[in-house]
């Protein structure tokens, strides 16, 4: 019978972790979670980075053979951050419960932005990036536009823009510092978790 969805043993996980620079991974997982969390709470993001490893080590989150461990770790950080956002959203809903005016205003606002087309939303996102202080450079803008057009893989972005992949990576490194305000605006408009 063909072996399907087999996942790595605890020993294999340990062996793979020994090869990796865990402090660097923790830092990058923390950076990623900080962006994903709607409140951008760095302490919470650091906890998430630690939890990600706990889940992999105890096999609560499986690392399947043939998949990259780092990709599994970052996916896990995404799930945990989304759960935190849901908790935060619920907490805020409970806090405003009973304040009818705010509820109605927030509801109306979401309804209003929900009517925007995907192209209008793309245009809002690009404008938000362009208005960032400090402003993005040309490459950052192009990378961002690739992403919102659905070209998100580093290699594909590099090919599309006819740029060296290392330059694209450097561009993303600068770009990622400018993404929090865009996310915040979209969350305010009622998008996101």
């Amino acid at each position: 019978m063909e072996k399907e969805n087999s996942f790595a043993s605890r020993k294999e996980v340990e062996k793979e972790l020994q090869k990796l620079d865990i402090p660097l991974l923790l830092k990058k997982l923390e950076d990623y979670a900080t962006y994903l969390l709607n409140d951008h709470d760095r302490d919470k993001a650091f906890d998430i980075a630690g939890q990600v490893f706990d889940k992999i080590i105890t096999q609560e989150r499986k690392w399947y053979e043939g998949k990259s461990l780092k990709s599994t770790l970052f996916q896990a950080a995404k799930s945990l951050s989304n759960n935190e956002n849901k908790k935060l959203k619920r907490k805020r809903q409970l806090e405003v419960e009973g304040i009818e005016i705010e509820d109605i205003a927030a509801h109306d606002q979401i309804g209003q932005f929900d009517k925007l087309s995907i192209n209008e939303l793309k245009s809002i996102a690009v404008d938000l990036l362009k208005n960032h202080d400090p402003p993005p450079d040309y490459l950052e803008e192009l990378i961002f536009e690739c992403w919102i057009e659905g070209i998100t893989k580093q290699r594909e972005v590099a090919q599309y823009l006819e740029q060296d992949i290392k330059e694209v990576r450097k561009g993303v490194k600068r770009l990622k510092r400018k993404l929090d305000p865009i996310k915040d605006e979209f969350v305010k408009m009622g998008y996101g978790q």
Binding site: E14, D21, I22, L26, I57, I143, C146, Q154, V172
Partner: protein, 140 residues
């Protein structure tokens, strides 16, 4: 329904970026990155990393214990079976060897007599087997 497409694509782009980075121990940092992770301010990362590796080792050794229990149990069951089903262990052993493609491990398996098979079974020393498993796993 609220359309989250834009945020999802940005998250995807960031994910691709983070996953594309080199996290092997030989990776090279910029000075700023190195300071952020390994400098005074970054001690929290190295501290947590040590805890993670320790926990991984601990969990991994728990797995070794699980294997020991499992083989010990198997050994006990084999003894019981041998008492109850005298003479039937040989064909089962033969089927097991064939099923898992282990025949090549035994010279002239096809022409091996029942007596020779039983000798192999008798010689199976579970204590030695466990010792081998543990030492091999420790070497990895």
């Amino acid at each position: 329904m609220v359309n989250n497409k834009i945020l999802e694509l940005i998250e995807e782009g960031l994910l691709e970026y983070y996953v594309s980075l080199n996290y092997s121990k030989e990776s090279e940092f910029t000075v700023a990155e190195g300071e952020a992770i390994y400098g005074k301010e970054g001690a929290k990362y190295t501290k947590l990393a040590k805890r993670i590796l320790f926990k991984a080792k601990l969990e991994s050794s728990k797995n070794i214990h699980a294997k020991i229990i499992s083989i010990s149990e198997a050994s006990g069951r084999l003894e019981l079976l041998d008492k109850d089903m005298k003479g039937k262990v040989f064909p089962i052993f033969k089927r097991h060897i064939e099923k898992y493609g282990l025949a090549a491990n035994y010279r002239n398996f096809e022409s091996m007599t029942e007596k020779e098979m039983k000798e192999i079974l008798d010689q199976l020393n579970f204590t030695a087997l466990l010792d081998n498993i543990i030492s091999e796993l420790e070497d990895e």
